[in-house]
């Protein structure tokens, strides 16, 4: 009944429809035998266990003193003598690099935030035009995008280095930021989303009411694609946060956390506690971003697959 009422409206957000469908389908498909239930929850339990265990192990180990990490057989959850030593010793480990840890953290945050913001903004703009504009050659561009999705970044490392060196950008922050202008995943996802969720009638109406191009973009497109925006933010942040530039950063004061992390963990057995500590630190920001954008993310990801 509710869904019928909603369908009578002239225009409604598609997410409402998806929600209604989901409710209906959930009620309908939830008729299983008890054996089926047991099987399902066993499967879920195993899946959950295998996904969560490494994280728990990582977190607990980061609070263990060295002798406890090496206990055989390893304890997963219990920490007998919890200690913050692993975290506190991090600045000392780096003291021979002459740069304090806070510098790396702030570098990482600065680069990630700027890059993510630029990346999301530029891909949304490009996706808007590719989806709704009728520029010549937008089909070709989209073909290139799809091809680029299937391509590994290692092959491009050297030519990209040459581009940077010709632009005189080696050993600057630009090395972190600029490659993400060409990141095609964002444009691809966003174009699919706009294709599916922004009706042409709405843009037309806005145009008749006298809205300009920028107004249409900021007042109509952005609010509608908000779930996808948050998804892109999450994915972008995740990628930038853990990116290690290949051979384009040399000065120590420009390096980010992942690079330092590699240095710490290469220190051998004695450093394994600290390695765990850095791993935990590295995991926190993406998870934070995820929690903030959580409710919207799954919806946007699930809409991306529907259309080919």
């Amino acid at each position: 009944m509710k869904s019928l009422l909603k369908r009578k409206k002239f225009f409604f957000r598609k997410s409402d429809k998806v929600k209604v469908q989901r409710e209906a389908s959930a009620v309908k498909r939830y008729t299983r035998s008890k054996v089926g239930n047991v099987f399902y929850f066993l499967f879920l339990g195993a899946f959950g266990l295998f996904s969560v265990l490494p994280l728990i192990y990582c977190v607990t180990s980061s609070f263990k003193p060295l002798d406890e990490i090496m206990i055989f057989p390893p304890r997963l959850v219990v920490v007998v003598r919890p200690t913050f030593e692993n975290y506190l010793s991090l600045p000392n480990l780096l003291s021979n690099l002459k740069i304090p840890l806070s510098r790396y953290v702030s570098n990482s945050l600065f680069v990630s935030i700027i890059t993510t913001a630029l990346y999301v903004f530029i891909s949304t703009m490009a996706a808007f035009v590719l989806a709704k504009g009728n520029l010549k050659g937008s089909k070709t561009v989209f073909m290139i995008i799809q091809f680029a999705l299937l391509y590994t970044s290692y092959t491009l490392a050297v030519p990209q280095y040459l581009v940077f060196s010709n632009l005189k950008m080696i050993d600057t922050y630009w090395v972190y930021i600029l490659p993400y202008l060409a990141s095609t995943m964002g444009v691809f996802l966003m174009k699919q989303y706009i294709d599916g969720y922004v009706p042409n009638a709405l843009m037309e109406a806005a145009e008749i009411d006298g809205a300009g191009y920028f107004r249409i973009f900021f007042k109509i497109i952005i609010p509608i694609v908000k779930p996808c925006l948050l998804t892109l933010t999450l994915f972008g942040f995740r990628d930038v946060w853990s990116a290690v530039p290949q051979g384009t950063i040399f000065s120590e004061q420009l390096k980010t956390l992942p690079q330092v992390m590699a240095q710490i963990t290469s220190g051998g057995i004695a450093r394994s506690g600290s390695a765990m500590a850095v791993t935990v630190i590295m995991m926190i920001p993406p998870i934070l971003v995820y929690i903030i954008s959580q409710s919207n993310v799954v919806e946007a990801m699930s809409s991306a697959g529907i259309k080919e």
Binding site: Q21, S51, A126, T155, A157, T184, V297, S302
Partner: protein, 298 residues
């Protein structure tokens, strides 16, 4: 989804549209199209870095010949890559499909489990996952991972021998466990895509099948599975790409180490040859699949 053409809006768009798309196009040309073209050039030449400039000399098919006939590890690595693919690809597909079918239903704690399955997607990238999985690998599974600090510390084989298992069986256990780990940590995005596909199936289909008296089993094979065929193609393409381009793949990682020792031409040639082989194999699988399965479903 088809677009309607609206003259007024279009005129407006063509003026500003170019402005909106320009930054992305510049990025695409500078950091994808141009590097791609030069990487093809590198495949056929030799690169030397001299102070101040880069010297590129044309050498013809020499690099490709080296990769195919002289490199001691290439063929071996390709075979290994494909054998990993042979067992993890179907496993990833099945696991993520089952997960999606479970998660699309309503039960207590669904939000929690969706969160967990998505958490793997968030963390499973870049440096972090490498360390997490390495540690995990040494801790519970111990097999199938490269050497890590933890592996030096904990001898997993001895855990299994303490349990009193013969070596053959414990080896087998290690391989199985480590591949379970890889499968689960690689099936996050696939699960999401399948969930989206399942949600797009109209409810009427299920009503009809119920009225016709189909069992759950028949319902799955004659309604759910054919309706998922398009998503299935997307997911398989994605999985193939993910499996073959990640750094855990042996060819990619060996090319990476070659690159670090400034051996750019041969590593580029190696990657290109690998992707060509890959493309041929995928086409060989996909074309019959398309012809005999997809066509029948439509």
């Amino acid at each position: 989804m088809k677009k309607k053409k609206h003259a007024g809006v279009e005129r407006l768009k063509s003026r500003y549209g170019l402005m909106f798309v320009t930054p992305f196009i510049i990025g695409l040309i500078l950091f994808f199209v141009f590097p791609l073209i030069s990487s093809v050039q590198y495949m056929f030449s030799r690169i030397r870095f001299e102070p101040g400039n880069t010297v590129i000399t044309w050498t013809g098919l020499k690099n490709i010949k080296y990769v195919l006939f002289e490199d001691p590890h290439f063929i071996n690595n390709v075979v290994k890559g494909f054998s990993t693919f042979a067992y993890s690809f179907p496993l990833i597909l099945v696991v993520s499909l089952v997960m999606a079918i479970i998660l699309v239903q309503d039960f207590k704690g669904r939000v929690l489990f969706r969160g967990i399955s998505f958490m793997t997607v968030i963390i499973a990238s870049g440096v972090v996952i490498e360390y997490v999985l390495k540690y995990q690998g040494a801790d519970i599974t111990g097999a199938g991972v490269e050497t890590s600090i933890m592996e030096d510390m904990i001898d997993v084989e001895s855990i299994l021998t303490v349990l009193g298992l013969p070596t053959q069986i414990s080896k087998y256990f290690q391989v199985v466990l480590s591949s379970i780990m890889t499968v689960i940590w690689n099936s996050g995005i696939q699960t999401l895509l399948f969930i989206s596909g399942l949600q797009a199936i109209p409810d009427q289909m299920y009503e009809v099948s119920k009225v016709e008296g189909a069992t759950k089993w028949e319902e799955f094979w004659f309604v759910t599975f054919p309706m998922l065929s398009k998503i299935l193609v997307l997911v398989s393409a994605f999985t193939v790409v993910e499996l073959f381009t990640s750094k855990t793949d042996r060819v990619v990682s060996s090319a990476y180490t070659m690159m670090q020792s400034q051996n750019y031409h041969e590593s580029t040639a190696m990657l290109w040859v690998y992707f060509l082989i890959l493309g041929i194999v995928i086409a060989l699988i996909y074309i019959p699949f398309n012809k005999y399965c997809l066509k029948r479903w439509e």
